[in-house]
């Protein structure tokens, strides 16, 4: 049993943290998000070339750093601390995850491009009607003489405006909510028939409604088994959930620390408001929520590679993180008083990200239901 980090892992954390401290200050981030293209290709280039972190969880023979979930956790936590919007999750964790696990013939080449910063992925999975169900898919992929023809509408595809490739889930068989009949495709963002309606999200990302109209891709676009890709999707989404939990730990840490700092400076009734016990206890409860979230993130990071435990661990962690995001985020704003309501203070931006993480890849209710099923069996 060991909860310590190796020297390499600690160095990885320091490298990412110090780069982001120098290049990703709150004002720099704010200015970049307010102008086009709404993200920073120079930062992405630095991730690839200066820091090498786009290869963190890939094997060394693929050109990566030979890390795994722990390395992803470290990077994502630092991304959370700095509210990074660049598509690490979509590209390295999700795009890289599908490639790693699928045994796709082009996987090595594409992972090489990810590590080099040349390929950027967005996960075009959710649909307007599906809520958080991974099997609810109306988008179709019809086989047609050595190729597939895709039609459908993918909702709120985060990072799509700056992606080079889309990971598209589609029905090759079965009905809308069937577990069987789902397949995964890699579709170039610029393929004929792909149209997007781009927009910013409330937490600073750019996303798109993606419409696929008779998009024709070759057989090599298929990732993983035809018709039987749902387990692969679940696995990669669980990995994305665990990585998002790590990001949340960084966000929550900033919310908690920022609130302690603010209440020590803010004076009312002739004293710092941090002297009031009712606020102290609130901040202790925020701290407990944060520490319990860190614990659950460690738990899920360790168990995500264990096929028997993975799903339950990811859902349990997401439940804790979802609750903590709400409690810590809302109380951070409350304790900042009116200042917490302003756009100029960083705290509100952390709150907005925390709130979006609450429902990312499934809300607290969704993951409680999934956990219950895995732990107790079917409801009566």
């Amino acid at each position: 049993m060991d909860f310590s980090f190796t020297e390499e892992q600690s160095m990885l954390r320091d490298t990412v943290a110090s780069y982001l401290a120098d290049h990703y200050a709150f004002d720099q981030r704010r200015a970049a998000l307010a102008s086009e293209p709404g993200w920073r290709p120079d930062v992405w280039k630095a991730f690839a070339e200066e820091l090498g972190i786009l290869g963190a969880p890939f094997a060394e023979d693929l050109g990566g750093l030979g890390g795994g979930p722990v390395e992803s956790m470290i990077v994502m936590e630092e991304m959370g601390r700095a509210l990074v919007v660049e598509p690490y999750l979509g590209t390295v964790v999700i795009g890289g995850g599908f490639l790693k696990h699928s045994g796709h013939p082009d996987a090595a080449a594409l992972i090489g491009k990810i590590i080099a910063g040349e390929a950027i992925f967005a996960f075009a999975h959710a649909e307007p009607q599906a809520r958080y169900s991974l099997a609810d898919i109306k988008t179709t992929a019809r086989k047609d003489s050595g190729s597939y023809v895709l039609n459908g509408h993918k909702a709120v595809v985060v990072g799509a405006p700056y992606a080079t490739h889309l990971i598209v889930t589609a029905r090759t068989d079965g009905g809308q909510r069937d577990a069987v009949g789902i397949s995964v495709f890699i579709v170039p963002r610029g393929a004929a028939g792909v149209t997007t309606r781009d927009y910013p999200t409330v937490d600073g990302f750019r996303a798109s409604e993606v419409h696929l109209e008779n998009v024709r891709v070759g057989e090599e676009a298929l990732v993983g088994p035809e018709n039987h890709a749902l387990p692969l999707i679940e696995k990669v989404v669980d990995e994305a959930i665990v990585a998002t939990c790590a990001e949340a730990c960084g966000v929550l840490r900033k919310l908690q620390e920022g609130t302690v700092e603010y209440t020590r400076q803010r004076k009312q009734f002739g004293q710092p408001i941090s002297a009031f016990q009712v606020l102290q206890h609130r901040m202790v409860d925020m701290f407990i929520q944060l520490e319990q979230s860190v614990s659950m993130t460690y738990m899920a990071t360790i168990k995500v590679t264990d096929e028997a435990e993975r799903a339950k661990a990811a859902s349990a962690a997401k439940v804790q993180i979802g609750k903590a995001c709400r409690f810590v985020g809302q109380n951070a704003i409350q304790l900042h008083g009116g200042m917490g309501m302003t756009d100029e203070m960083a705290i509100g931006h952390y709150f907005k990200r925390a709130t979006m993480i609450e429902s990312a890849f499934g809300s607290v209710d969704h993951h409680l239901a999934r956990y219950e099923f895995l732990s107790f069996g079917q409801a009566a």
Binding site: F3, V260, Q280, I288, S295, Y298, I302, V319, E372, A380
Partner: protein, 400 residues
């Protein structure tokens, strides 16, 4: 980062499991199963088995009888004790007084008192709280004046009242905080005394708690003569001992292994009980949600405890963060007790204490659950209330 146990650790687990199975007192097991009240000897039977084995005081220094187990081994040990539903070892001597003795006591005091603690020959109680000194323990008023006895020796003459003294009705000796300097600042005038409970002037009066049990007592001290050599550490510096004791009291307070056992029982009960619609209660959408949330909360606590354990292994002592373990641990224990009570439905109501445990009213698993829930409210109050724990985190961790 990994959760793997080494081959040695797995062998250790097998060894302690086999020992518990083979050596847990059968008579005690029978009484526990039947819910019969325990006599003084019953509380010490398992203690004595462990003392003979050399496993009664794992945390003590090796030369005094400690086991030199790693934090991981101690964790495995507590897991196995919980798994076997083994009786809790009384903490007063082994876990509370002994660390004060071997840290602050003289060689003579250690030799005089540690063996009785180790072998379970002397039952200790804790004389800390007073009617006017609970969370604000340093405001205690029990007075100890230095006098010369008729025999020419020096004594403390102790007068005052202690309260919430757990199981004092069985105690042979007690460790007491008393005020030796009424003019000093509250923390500065306190001394730590060991008092023979048979000394004239001591009266123990039961306090019956709301579930009907006799667990705690008032202890009155009326001109009780205590030899000065029974004082631990310097006069007026007893607060140093008290603080050290509280730090020891907190380790293991999360009770994760016990709560996991209790959760397993809750699930069994909920599978057996019926919901309003006739299915199992564990299939009921609302009830299972509460159980799931609790299970997840307990997992988070378990990993928070594992993190503090890892800190300990790497040489960092348990910090004030352990207050989290006390707060969350007791909240979870209480939540478990209330969900069990909720699960048994109408059979939570019968008060069976005086009918005996074989009253055969309602299902066996419902007997006593209301009492346990009522009694369990103490956990967020004792050992520094959960509000005091929040003060500790605010001050020591957040720097407020």
């Amino acid at each position: 980062m990994n959760l793997d146990f080494s081959a040695e650790e797995n062998a250790f687990r097998a060894e302690v499991r086999a020992f518990i199975e083979g050596n847990y007192p059968a008579e005690l097991r029978a009484k526990e199963a039947a819910g019969e009240p325990l006599a003084k000897a019953d509380y010490l039977a398992w203690h004595k088995v462990l003392a003979r084995k050399g496993w009664i005081a794992p945390s003590w220094p090796r030369e005094l009888g400690g086991t030199d187990w790693t934090p991981t081994q101690k964790y495995i040990w507590s897991e196995e004790l919980a798994r076997a539903d083994a009786q809790r070892i009384l903490p007063f001597g082994v876990a509370m007084l002994a660390p004060v003795l071997y840290t602050f006591g003289t060689e003579e005091q250690k030799q005089r008192f540690l063996p009785g603690i180790y072998y379970g020959d002397v039952w200790w109680c804790q004389g800390y709280s007073e009617p006017g000194a609970g969370s604000d323990l340093a405001s205690l008023k029990t007075r100890a004046e230095r006098i010369k006895g008729d025999d020419g020796a020096e004594y403390y003459l102790v007068n005052g009242q202690k309260t919430w003294t757990t199981l004092a009705q069985f105690a042979d000796w007690g460790f007491f905080l008393v005020r030796t300097d009424p003019d000093a600042k509250p923390q500065a005038g306190i001394s730590f005394l060991l008092i023979d409970m048979k000394t004239p002037g001591i009266t123990v009066r039961p306090i019956i708690t709301l579930e009907g049990g006799h667990e705690v007592n008032d202890v009155f001290l009326d001109n009780v003569k205590v030899p000065v050599e029974n004082r631990i550490f310097h006069e007026n510096q007893g607060w140093t001992c008290a603080k050290a004791l509280l730090a020891h009291e907190r380790s293991g307070i999360a009770g994760v292994a016990r709560s996991k056992q209790a959760l397993g029982k809750l699930r069994e009960i909920a599978r057996t009980e019926r919901s309003d619609s006739g299915g199992s209660l564990l299939g009921d959408a609302f009830f299972r949600r509460k159980v799931a949330e609790l299970e997840i909360d307990l997992t988070a606590l378990e990993f928070t405890e594992l993190r503090t354990l890892a800190d300990e292994s790497s040489g960092k002592g348990p910090g004030p963060e352990t207050s989290i373990l006390k707060i969350k641990g007791t909240e979870i224990q209480q939540r478990l007790q209330e969900l069990v009570l909720e699960a048994v439905g109408v059979y939570g109501a019968p008060f069976l204490r005086d009918l005996g445990h074989n009253a055969q009213i309602g299902p066996d698993y419902a007997a006593g659950v209301a009492g346990q829930m009522f009694n369990g409210r103490k956990t967020s109050i004792y050992g520094g209330s959960n509000e005091i724990q929040r003060n500790i985190i605010a001050k020591m961790v957040l720097g407020l």
